[in-house]
Amino acid sequence: MPEEVISIQNVRRSFGTTRVFSDVSLALGTSSVYGLVGLNGAGKTTLLRILLGLLKPDQGQCRVLGDDPWRHEPAYYRKLGVVLEHNGFSGNLSACQNMEFFARARGLDRQALDTYLAGRWSGVAALEKRQKVKYFSRGEKMQCALCRAFMGSPPVYFLDEPVVALDVKAYDHFCGLVRDAREGGATVIISSHQLDAIEDLCDTVGILENGTLTPLAETGAGGTPWLVRCENRPEYGAAIADAAGAKPAYARGAWRFTVPPGDREAVPRLVAKLAGMGCAIEEVRENSDGLRESIRRHYGASGSTERGGR
């Protein structure tokens, strides 16, 4: 693993007599996007709050970029991009006025803010409105919160439910920001019930349950999962591997594989190839329920009941 950016070791935390974490450990390096999933009340937000220094672990150690979050150093916070449940904006101010405040708090001057807004957020209506933020829709407020989080390109991001209420365009924009941040070496933790987003963006996923954090899946670093329902023949597997550029797996009557991001021709190419081989294809579709299935299987195995989800 590259240089360790986030290190959580044996963290325990209780609220009164309720134990939220009994033993949580996690290590993340640079250029990684980590998905944090779990049922409602599992402790996802609590874990992010500990990483933000808003809560103190009862036991164990947390280090982010070598800093102890509980020291509440302003320099530490300037290295973080944060989205939490509440947007934290001054409702009487416009989006732009709010951004000015947060830019000043981060030590950015007006010119840096203007450059950032013009470069990454031009054409986003929410940021150009002169209206007070309190009259914004939920999605618009979330766009502003994302704009604030990515301001100054910090090296670490803690994003709690960052895609709630985003429209298609805003969601794509957010995905672009996260991918760019990862390419720039940033470490991102996304806590969400929106499994599509987790699957689209995260390299690895962990599930918080019964006070522990269990690695759940490697999602394929942003690739799109697909399935082709047809016979299980080795030559079909080889054809899929050739067309998609990744080794497929045959399970429950279908070949499952990941198409790299941006390769729009991979699936048509594959279908043509299989058809040319005389393969009787019953179904071709995006296998977007991969992570969901994994989570269901996980809860099935652990005896819990899934209440979260899309």
């Binding site: 509440h86 904006f89 001054s90």
Partner: protein, 224 residues
Amino acid sequence: MRGMLTVFGNEWTGFLRSDRSVFTIYAILVLVWSIVLASNMNLLALDANILWWVFFSVVVSSNFANTTFVSERLTGSLEIVLTCGLSRMAILLGKIAYVIFMSVVLGLLCYAFGILWALIAGEDAVLMLQTMNLAQLILVYLSACFMNACCGAWLSVHLTNPRLSHFANLLVLGLVVGGHAVISTLTPLSAWVLPGVLCAAGVLFLLLAARGFAGEKVVQPFTV
């Protein structure tokens, strides 16, 4: 200092862009209170006049402390502000400075209108200004505002029910001023004792609020 000014500026800009109804309410408050004060603007009622100012300070300061500290904690906005890159002390001091500033602005408006009403009612302006101990009045009012703002910040961290913050603030001020009144009946006290006690109490509440802001209780949600 820069962080404190950033927080102060944000609060002030937010107030300036408040809805019209907010300004109307404050205008009514100032006008009504200035009439009450105008009726006491003479030498004989100096002590009573000062107590009216102290009472006015708690009405104004606790209200601004409520919107600045309590509502932010209640809505969860404070979590974002605490993680935005400013020190917690700068955030606390910036907000306290804003509460004091707003209380002083409204106090000045109230004072100006009070004089206007007294003049309209036929008071002798020169005699009135000569007989009032302005320095004492200003000092008591400022120290009361300081104590109320710091007390409001402290209460915002520790009260589980935000609806009680106004009353709790009033109770604390009442205890300080009442204690001073009781002691002054037993033994003559200098005119500077009351502002001194208010300032000392303010410093104590500031330290307690700073301790609360450094802990995790400041972001725990209220139980309403």
